[in-house]
Structure formats: C-alpha cells, structure tokens
Amino acid sequence: MNTLLSVQDIETAYGSSQVLFGLSFEIREGETATLLGRNGVGKTTTLRSILGLTPVQRGAVHFCGQRIEAMATDHIARLGMAIVPEGRRIFPNLTVRENLLAFAGNRSKSQNPWTLQRIHALFQPLQQRSNHMGNQLSGGEQQMLAIGRALMTNPRLLILDEASEGLSPHMREEIWRCLGRLREHGQTILVIDKYVERLLSLADHHTVIERGRVAWSGSSGQLRAAPDIWQRYVGV
C-alpha cells in the first residue's frame, strides 16, 4: 500500500505559543488511522496544519506524493481531503440541501460516489429537514450534516474531528458502521474521537499525542495490549 499522507516533523505555533513540537506520522492508502490524546494536546492543531489553515513553521507534509505544507487550503482540499471539523461549522445561511450540494464532487474518482440519495438514506433526519436552514437544526442533526457534507466531496482522505460529538448512541453506532463499510471499500480515514474503545475495532493504526509530540504509535492490537499507554495518555 502507498503512503497517502505523511507528516514529517512539523512544528506549529499560534502566534508565540508553540503547540506542535516535531510531530510525525503516516497514513497509507485505504487505512483507517486515529489521533489520540487528551484535551488540548494538539490534535486539532495537527489537522489544521495538514490542511494549511495554520501554517507549519518547520517540517513537511506530503499528500498523494505532493508537498502541500505551503499550498493554499482550498487547493489542498481539492486534491481530495475533506474534514468534519470540530464544532460542526455548518453554513447557517444555506439550507441542508445546499450545504450538501454546494461542495459536492468526486475527488477520489470513486466508482460508487456519494450522492444526495445515499446521504439521505444514511441520515434520514436530513432528508426530512432538506429545506431547513443550517442553523435550524439540532446539534446532532448538524453533526450529521457536517459528515454528509464531507462525504459529498468523495474525498481520498476523510478526516473526522470528534465527529461523534452530540450524536445519540444509536446514531453514533450508525456512523461507526458506516466508517467500517467505507473502510472495506478502500476509503482512507483519519479519526479523532473520544470513544477509543470503539476505535480499536475500527482503526488499523493509532498515533497518541502528548503535548505536541508523538508519545506512542502502533496498531490496534498493540494498543489493546498496552492499557498503560491508554490510561496515561488518553484517560477514560
């Protein structure tokens, strides 16, 4: 399998406060990977650095064989990266339907691309609320919309930053199942989530972050076998 994304030794800061201190990891094509760590260790910052939203000061990021750390964010996204951001960030002045359609595309040249129908089938509430404005949705509905919006671009790399936040257990389970199916179809996925236990069965590879550095990385099997790591860096 090829490496789809590689992050090498990046350092990132907000103004004068540095958050990432030489962080590296890789994701191979078709793999499901996670970033784990307590609140505020820099998980979201890592994602922002990859997407070019917060410029990295040192280090390199490669995606699909291209160096991207100096590219414009929209350009990176069009290479085939889509994110379900922390806090959902639905467009409040677009309807549910528009939120889904405005950015639709097939950036991974997928055989079986996501369409409005498939999204509706996955998240029935969205179909019922099709003409509601984004800000008229409940928290969980917004979360579904954020996931749907990312899927609609049919990305090569799907990134989920706490995508299960605010979802009911039922719906959360639905998402996990869906991610599982996607993985079977060869979708590359990067997940950040607090339900680590569930991630163990879902993901292939884990990177644990502590204070802007990689504290541990390994496969699900290895992590399951190392509960101390878990307890020390992730809690729960």
Partner: protein, 306 residues
C-alpha cells in the same frame, strides 16, 4: 383626482422604487451577501455614470456608452477588490466602514481631477427620448418605463444567480464562514472577485440609467447611497426579495408623500406653512417607515435566514 394622475403616481412610485432597486442590487450582493459594509458603492455608481457619459460622447451612442461603462466599471471593481477589499473581508464592519469612507474621498477627488468639478452631459438615448401615450392625453416617459423593465429583469437575474445557482451557494457559504468554505475546497478569493465585479457592473448599469435622468456629478453617489441602504435594511439584509419589496415600498411612500402630502397639508394649514412643512415631513416619512419596520421586525421584512 383623475385617473391619469393616479396612474401616473403609481407608475412614479414603481419607477422610483425600481430605480432605487437598481442601485440597491449591487449593494445587496456586496453588502447583503458578501457582508462587506461598502460605502464606496456610491463611488462605483458615480464611476459608472462618468464612464457612460464619457464613452457616450466619444462613441456618439448611448448603448455603446452603456456597454463600455459596464466593462470599465467591472474592471475598476476587480482592481479595487484585489487591492483593497480582499484585505477587508475578515475585518470588522468598523474597518470596512472607515476604509470605504476613505475610498469615497479618493474617488471623488479623482473624478474631480479627471473630469472637473462641473457636471457632465448624459441624456436618454434617442429611442427613449419621446414619451409614450398610455392613456389618451396622458403620456409617460418611455425611459422611465425602460427603467421599470430593467429593474424587474435585474431582480429576476439576481434571484436566479444567488438563490438558484451553485455560485450563489458558494458566495453565501464563503460570507458566513470563509475558513470553512476554503476548507471545503473553494477558492473563495476568486468567487468574491467575480461577485464584486458583477456588483460593480450593476453599479455601472444603475449609474448610466439613472445618470441619464438625474445627474452625472462628483458626489452623486452619496446622496442616493443612503436610500439604497435604507431599502436593503427595510427588506432584510441579504434577501433579494426583501430588497425588491423594500425598494418598492420606499419608492411608493416617497412618491406618494411628495405628491399627496402638500395638498393634504394645505387643506389644514396656511399655504405658506404647508410649503415649509410639507417637504420636511415627506423627507422624514421614509425614515419613519424604516424605524417602524425595524421596530416590529428587527431584522427587516424578509430576514435572510441565517
């Protein structure tokens, strides 16, 4: 009051309203949808009128003048967007206010330096120079009818672009959360430049059409700009339907108050006093209308949802 007078007043109201709408149209895009408080909108309107007057007298044709003016103003718009506005999107409304105020000063002075302090000639094209007879003995300016038509057409076009097309969605998305729109892979900078140019082109259209019956002069933008803002706010910022309704409302109220109020006042007070009070009262009415609308609907008549 005879029928012709009534019809004329209605047409006048409609016409004045759509005239305001033409001006408000570009503003709806830039201010209502892109969410940039653009005081310099009036300057683009002025630029459009000056270009039209210049090109019309050079080419000898109003229509050629109009086309060239639209192109030239759109080009100015693009330049302006890339040089100034691009840096203002993420800024507060306050910065935008100050920056675009500065642009007004610059534009006015440039126009004065280039074209002189005196007004320029821009007249209605020959096709529309003659009034049309709507009723026996009652004729109405054909150019004003043309303005009515153009106003409605622009409204329809804008509605299609903003509400029905993907471009419209992207613009709205970019305006509400620029970073997220970029993260979704949209080159918002380009989209906004395009939209700004389109707004400038609408300004040129308004400047040319209105310049032909009003004036082409330095400072022509500011006096009417306030009315355009009033229109948009009454209608609900960001809503095209709102802008249209707001424009018609303001047009009607203003026209009717100007034509009916003096007569009404003369019935209850001395003509001398009525002559003094009438115009003041008529000028106040629009603002009373706006305050009343906002009192009952703090986000305008058709609040753009979001």
């Amino acid at each position: 009051m005879d029928l012709a007078f009534a019809i004329e007043n209605l047409l006048n109201g409609l016409q004045f309203g759509l005239m305001l709408f033409l001006l408000a149209a570009g503003l709806t895009l830039v201010f209502g949808i892109m969410d940039v408080v653009n005081l310099a909108h009036g300057s683009l309107y002025m630029a459009g009128a000056y270009f039209a007057a210049t090109f019309t007298s050079l080419c000898g044709s109003f229509w050629a003048g109009l086309l060239l003016s639209v192109a030239a103003t759109a080009a100015v718009g693009v330049l302006l967007e890339m040089a100034v506005f691009r840096r203002l999107y993420q800024r507060s409304h306050l910065s935008q206010l100050l920056a675009t105020f500065a642009l007004i000063l610059i534009f006015n002075e440039l126009a004065r330096m280039i074209w002189g302090a005196q007004a320029l000639t821009l007249n209605t094209p020959p096709v529309f120079s003659r009034p049309v007879e709507l009723l026996p003995g009652f004729s109405y300016s054909s150019f004003r009818l043309f303005i009515i038509g153009t106003g409605l057409a622009v409204a329809a076009l804008m509605y299609l672009i903003v509400v029905k097309t993907r471009l419209g969605m992207l613009v709205r998305a970019g305006a509400s959360d620029r970073e997220m729109a970029i993260t979704m892979g949209i080159d918002i900078a380009r989209v906004f430049t395009l939209l700004f140019a389109f707004g400038a082109a609408l300004c040129a259209l308004a400047g040319t059409l209105l310049g032909a019956i009003l004036e082409v002069q330095v400072g022509m933008g500011e006096s009417i700009l306030i009315l355009a803002f009033v229109v948009i706010v009454i209608g609900g910022v960001g809503s095209i339907r709102g802008a249209l309704v707001g424009a018609l409302l303001v047009g009607m109220v203003d026209t009717l108050s100007r034509s009916l109020l003096p007569a009404a006042l003369r019935a209850i007070m001395a003509p001398e006093a009525a002559a003094g009070v009438g115009p003041s009262l008529a000028s106040i009415l629009i603002y009373v209308l706006m305050a009343a609308v906002l009192f009952f609907k703090p986000r305008g008549l058709f609040p753009a949802r979001g």
